[in-house]
Amino acid sequence: MSAFALTSGRFVREQLRAPLTLVLLIAIPVFFVLIFADVLGEFSKALGGTLATQSATAISAGWSAAFLSGTLAFFMVSSSRAADRRLALAGLGPAKVALSRIAAALALGVTVTAVAFLTLWLRSGIGHPLHALVAIFAFAAIYIGIGAVVGALVSDPLAGSLLVLAVFSIDAFSGPQMTSAASGVGTYLPTYHAANLLIAAGGGQGSPAADWRGVAAVALGALTVALAAFWLAARARSPR
């Protein structure tokens, strides 16, 4: 087994050393889709959105993937900085440490995405399953980037988790799923295109090429930024 695969596997195990974490990584997306979705359609209409119930159900899958992945990436960067520097200095190098970290984050993001997607599919069916799968994964990838950046900038776990919650709240409450005002500043939110894609897929419709391009650009950009954040965290500091 290569050092990269071994380290990535160890990083995944590190995050899942508390069995409850794995249980919650599976239970929360199921919960969001099954229970929260029942009320989200009505909630969206009260907020001035125009979501059909099926689209609202779909968006709950994206939200769960986003919050879980963002929090995970934040704690990955903020709590493993010292260990990662030692690993890099011991010969693995910051680039390989960063690649292993992002591979571990993506593996867990894929797990959350798969659980959310399957729950969504079993509960209400999806008109465009592949579109929905890509969109839910995009939510996870974008928030891996956000969580990693917050982790690189903020070492305090309380401040960092509050910051991830703040970004998530602004994004969720101002996005196209929840507000009629999403045509303005809402179009610049990180998950705007992913939400459009997921809403359309949930309602059984295709999406315009602009949304696909937007999702690809934001998700790839977020993963690149996450890689840079992991690399910065693992890089050795020169002695003062």
Binding site: T21, L24, T71, D156, A166, F173, S180
Partner: protein
């Protein structure tokens, strides 16, 4: 308060002052979420049942303010509980081993937790005041303070017992289930069966009674909330004393 406890409390508050981002976020997050969510809500008519078989006709817009204020206080207080207690475990064990009374170490952390929770309550109440004039401010304030203290205690317990990632996920799960869905009158005109099993039941009944009823009918819920708080406070104190590893 003993001189040791006073010193520990001052140091613990000073420690928090070194993290201005926490205070900034404690103000900005509830301010944004409460104001924006109410501003974006349509005034769709809605009838809800309050305690004492009282039905009131209101709107989704009016309901959203108290709902988001309670939700924000719970989220922030629970996160504060998780991380204030985790940092206490990291540093205070050494203090206790060095001879510092465990009781005073626990007390100082609890006072910091209460202080920061009250910041979240004050900000949320101020924001709520900008979007709604409650029928009874004392009942609303009591509900928000109790929400903060009960969820801060739950966060502290979870923070002591679990890994920080699992703790963060668990409080998200609990608060979204409890205050976000099960207790919310935006989704259920009257409490659903088994809603009473969750800690948010008396809190939201008290909150909405204060927000919309000119006669106070929620004395039973106030007492139930105080019971939750007392039980949780005792458990938190005992668990923390045990976690700090001494019996001074």
């Amino acid at each position: 308060m003993s001189p040791a406890a006073r010193t520990a409390t001052l140091m613990a508050f000073r420690d928090q002052r070194r993290r201005p981002l926490v205070l900034v976020l404690l103000v900005l997050v509830p301010a944004y979420v409460i104001l924006w969510s109410v501003a974006e809500t349509k005034p769709t008519p809605r009838a809800i049942e309050l305690d004492g078989d009282v039905w009131v006709r209101t709107t989704m817009k009016a309901l959203h303010g108290p709902g988001m204020a309670g939700l924000m206080v719970a989220f922030l207080a629970a996160l504060l509980g998780v991380f204030v207690m985790r940092s206490a475990l990291a540093g205070d064990r050494r203090l206790v081993v060095a001879g510092f009374p465990a009781r005073d170490a626990v007390l100082s952390r609890l006072l910091v937790l209460i202080g920061l929770t009250l910041v979240a309550v004050v900000v949320s109440a101020l924001m709520l005041g900008l979007v709604l004039t409650p029928a009874s401010w004392p009942a609303v304030i009591a509900a928000l303070v109790l929400t903060g203290l009960i969820y801060a205690a739950i966060g502290a317990l979870v923070g002591v017992l679990l890994d920080k990632l699992a703790a963060t996920y668990l409080i998200l799960f609990l608060i979204m289930t409890d205050l976000g869905v099960v207790q919310s009158p935006m989704f259920h005109a009257r409490p659903v069966a088994f809603a009473w099993l969750l800690p948010g039941f008396p809190l939201d009944r008290l909150l909405y009674d204060g927000a919309f009823s000119h006669t106070f009918n929620a004395m039973g819920k106030l007492l139930l909330a105080l019971g939750w708080l007392t039980a949780l406070a005792v458990v938190v104190y005992l668990v923390l004393r045990r976690a700090l590893g001494t019996r001074s």
